[in-house]
């Protein structure tokens, strides 16, 4: 056990040296690190949001809403198809998660079924089969025809919605000008957003919580909104929408969209030249500009509504045709809300509503305090352990402490190289590792002490000590590793950080406290050839 082959010695020394080298960048101030040449280790440990400050948000897609809107589209498609096929029908609508319609004449059923069947397209199948599948199932029972969306189609639609949402969320966050945001898919219908070091986390929430579906529609001139509410009748093709600001004013707005928000090419915050109020300036693309020009030309004198997420932002009167493809939205904006709206319009609308399921925001002050407290705790804890070990084991204690120091450095090195995230519980994991890492040395030393008491000479006692302690060391550490692995699997964010440091700490501690420590003792034995050992 005490004899090391040359290549093993070299390997151990190399590993220790690498640990030293790769942990070093963490002791250099971040701004000085840029001067370090690229061939030297220059990565620092990645600090978690709870230490550097920032926002963690878990966004959930409204899958039910997504399916509902798909069915609504399907109703429209079926209506058009049957009209084109000249098939009279009744009772077209959504029933029990599918679209149902009753064909009036029995002889039309087959024609209708075929026509509706023509709506189906193929989507790529699920991940098991991979075979393309149809997106619709059409069934006729008697004169009733049912159209259902297949699971594969729902899945494909969700997939597309998530990808598109991630892209739009990314665009919105990029507008904030933060560094290194993390935006990734989580599970089937969730998006995880991590944005470090935000000045104004509230703005992030305002940007992420909105669908930002915008459109321009005419205000109905059939009757006033008050009339519609009083008589409880809404003319066909119109609906009542309320203004976004208080007091909430109702508007009777046509359902037909003049120009959609997808036709916007650019939007920017600005100020109204006459009133000096904050406004949002926008520009349409070519098609949108033409559409807007046509509608405004035909409806001079009528008010139109600028609708965002089913709320009326403002409803200006069309004084003259607007043909330049440019316009201005004024409402009761503040500079901040105008900026936010411009960002939302530039980034585009989300394909589906999103809710913030979980939010954890840590201010930079708390993060800095946590790091400082963690450092102090680690230093004091380490000092206490060092004193205790040296008091108990003398020279051997010094060797154990050297192994411990190396252990912490290697832990830092691995965290830096893997770019694992260090969180506040992660710091607790390091402190715990400091306390537990010496366990292997304690086991070995106690064993050596026992063997010495039984009358064995130094070399034999040390040899047996290492031999017999190994099985306990492995068993003890593997059990802790198991709980760390499970924490990693099931934990999120900070807790995961704890599992990472704990697991890496266990692995490095077995290496330093067992292997490196043994090498040190073997060198010492050969140099000094002690007659007896003090333990």
């Amino acid at each position: 056990m005490l004899y090391f082959e040359r290549w093993k010695v070299i390997l151990i020394c190399l590993l220790c040296f690498a640990g030293l080298a790769y942990s070093m960048p963490n002791f250099v101030p971040r701004d000085k690190l840029e001067n370090v040449p690229g061939w030297l280790p220059n990565k620092q440990i990645n600090l978690g949001l709870d230490l550097r400050g920032g926002s963690y948000m878990l966004l959930g897609l409204d899958t039910a809403g997504l399916e509902q809107s798909r069915l609504q589209d399907l109703v429209n498609e079926v209506r058009n198809t049957l009209r084109d096929a000249r098939v009279p029908y009744t009772g077209l609508g959504i029933q029990g998660g599918m679209v149902a319609v009753s064909v009036t004449r029995a002889e039309d059923v087959e024609t209708a079924r075929k026509a509706i069947d023509g709506l189906a397209t193929t989507v790529s199948g699920n991940m098991f089969s991979g075979v393309p599948e149809r997106d619709l199932i059409v069934r006729a029972t008697g004169q009733r025809i049912e159209v259902a969306v297949t699971e594969a189609a729902k899945l494909a639609q969700l997939q597309a919605a998530v990808e598109q949402s991630i892209e739009i969320v990314r665009r919105r966050i990029d507008e904030l000008g933060t560094t290194e945001p993390v935006i990734q898919r989580q599970g089937a219908d969730r998006i995880l957003v991590q944005v470090p070091g935000l000045e104004n986390p509230q703005q992030l929430k305002e940007l992420l919580g909105r669908t930002a579906r915008m459109n321009f529609r005419l205000v109905s001139n059939a009757m006033s909104a008050q009339q519609a509410i009083a008589t409880r009748t809404v003319p066909a093709g119109t609906e009542i929408l309320y203004s976004s600001d208080e007091p909430r004013v109702p508007y009777l707005v046509e359902r037909r969209i003049m120009v959609g928000g997808d036709r916007l090419r650019d939007a920017s915050p600005g100020f109204d030249q006459r009133t000096g109020e904050p406004v949002v300036n926008f520009r349409f693309d070519n098609i949108g500009g033409r559409q807007f020009g046509d509608v405004t030309r035909e409806n001079v004198g009528r008010p139109f509504a600028i609708v965002l997420d089913n709320e009326v932002i403002s409803a200006p009167r069309i004084n003259e045709p607007i043909t330049g493809g440019q316009g201005q939205i004024s409402g009761s904006f503040t500079v901040q809300s105008a900026t936010n709206l411009a960002i939302l319009l530039r980034s585009g609308a989300l394909p589906v509503d999103i809710t913030i399921l979980e939010e954890r925001t840590v201010g930079p002050g708390l993060g800095a305090d946590s790091i400082a407290a963690g450092e102090i705790a680690a230093l004091i804890g380490a000092t206490a352990v060092v004193v205790f070990m040296i008091a108990s084991y003398g020279f051997f204690g010094v060797l154990a402490v050297a192994a411990l120091a190396l252990n912490v450095l290697m832990l830092f090195a691995i965290l830096s190289v893997l770019q694992a995230t260090l969180t506040l519980p992660g710091i607790a994991g390091i402190v715990l590792t400091i306390g537990m890492a010496v366990d292997a040395n304690v086991l070995i030393y106690e064993r050596i002490r026992e063997e010495t008491l039984q009358g064995k000479g130094p070399i034999q006692a040390i040899e047996t000590g290492y031999n017999k302690a190994l099985s306990s060391i492995l068993d003890a550490n593997i059990t802790t590793l198991i709980s760390a692995a499970i924490l990693f699997q099931l934990g999120t964010g900070p807790v995961r950080g704890f599992a990472v440091t704990l697991a890496i700490g266990i692995i490095t501690s077995v290496f330093t406290a067992y292997t490196v420590n043994r090498l040190m003792i073997s060198v010492w034995l050969r140099r000094r050839r002690p007659k007896a050992i003090v333990l």
Binding site: G60, I356, E358, R360, A384, T479, Q489
Partner: protein, 315 residues
């Protein structure tokens, strides 16, 4: 220089003789913890109940009473307000709005922000956990503890014999229950970090038990005729010095964390400190007596061989 020795070299403490007292004590603790869990219950944090947590720092010492009456008047349901760590640091906890969804929670945050106005110099933390997520976190937390206990059972079974596996898991369950009991008594906040603490305790307690077991197994092979009770005593005494040393260093490190590590980590560290004590106790007074109660197959040469073979690896 004389070295510090917490435990003399050759102890003969009759641990096994005290097992009746220890087992009764442990039984009382476990039963009391179970009763407490169902009567008094855990003080679940927002991770598990859903809700809102806001930590602010104020300009100068915060007037908690004033904040309480102001925020209480907003009609947001139950609001807890307490000083956190320092006088100018305030923790505000709000229950998730009933029958409200995630958007309702966000509106509550906005309302509180508006009411606090200039009084909050800095928003140190804002956490909002919606009902959907909190349900999943509860599931994952329970799952984590159960899976890790089961995996360890399997590992010990594989490395030792079934009696050892059973003994170690009984002491694990004992430790987990006792820790949950202390959470109930002191009404410490039970959060995601508490689950992490529980799992660490599980790991540590296992670690401790395994080392005693390892020595028992070794002695079983060495002293084939020794009375099992005496053998357990011998093994525990032989490992006692190590048990105390390791618990000592770990406790020193954790104590530093408890005192200097900041308010956020305090409950987490407290749970671990308690767990180290209980884990050390259980490896001596629960793990070993269980072996005595269910008996150990002596001289099972197959199992004995199994234990000694893998020793040469790992250098």
């Amino acid at each position: 220089m004389r070295l510090l020795k917490l435990i003399p070299d050759d102890t003969h403490i009759p641990f096994v003789k005290w097992r009746h007292i220890a087992v009764s004590l442990s039984l009382v603790v476990v039963i009391a913890s179970t009763v407490l869990l169902f009567t008094r219950g855990l003080n679940f944090g927002i991770d598990f109940t859903g809700g809102i947590l806001i930590e602010i720092s104020t300009d100068g010492p915060a007037d908690i009473a004033e904040l309480r009456s102001d925020l209480g008047g907003l009609g947001l349901g139950e609001i807890q307000i307490q000083e956190f760590g320092q006088a100018d640091d305030v923790l505000i906890r709000v229950q998730a709005p009933e029958d409200g969804d995630e958007r309702a929670s966000q509106r509550v945050v906005d309302t509180i922000r508006a009411e606090l106005g200039d009084r909050a110099v800095e928003y140190r933390r804002v956490e909002v956990v919606g009902p959907q997520v909190s349900g999943e976190l509860v599931q994952d937390g329970i799952l984590a503890v159960v899976i890790s206990v089961v995996l360890m059972l399997i590992y010990i079974w594989f490395r030792f014999e079934w009696q050892f596996a059973l003994g170690s898991v009984i002491s694990l369950v004992h430790d987990v229950m006792a820790t949950i009991g202390i959470f109930c008594i002191l009404q410490l906040e039970f959060s995601l970090a508490s689950i992490a603490a529980l799992l660490t305790i599980v790991g540590y307690s296992m670690n401790d038990t395994v080392i005693v077991y390892d020595r028992i197994r070794e002695n079983l092979r060495k002293y084939k005729k020794m009375d099992l009770g005496d053998l357990l005593d011998l093994s525990i005494n032989q490992t006692l010095s190590r048990t105390v040393m390791t618990s000592g260093t770990t406790l020193l490190a954790l104590a530093a964390l408890f005192i200097f590590g900041g308010a956020v980590l305090r409950d987490f560290t407290f749970a671990m400190i308690f767990g180290i004590f209980i884990g050390t106790y259980s490896s001596i007074f629960v793990g070993a007596p269980v072996l005595l109660a269910i008996g150990v197959t002596r001289d099972s040469s197959g199992a004995a061989e199994k234990g000694s073979k893998e020793k040469t690896a790992g250098a």
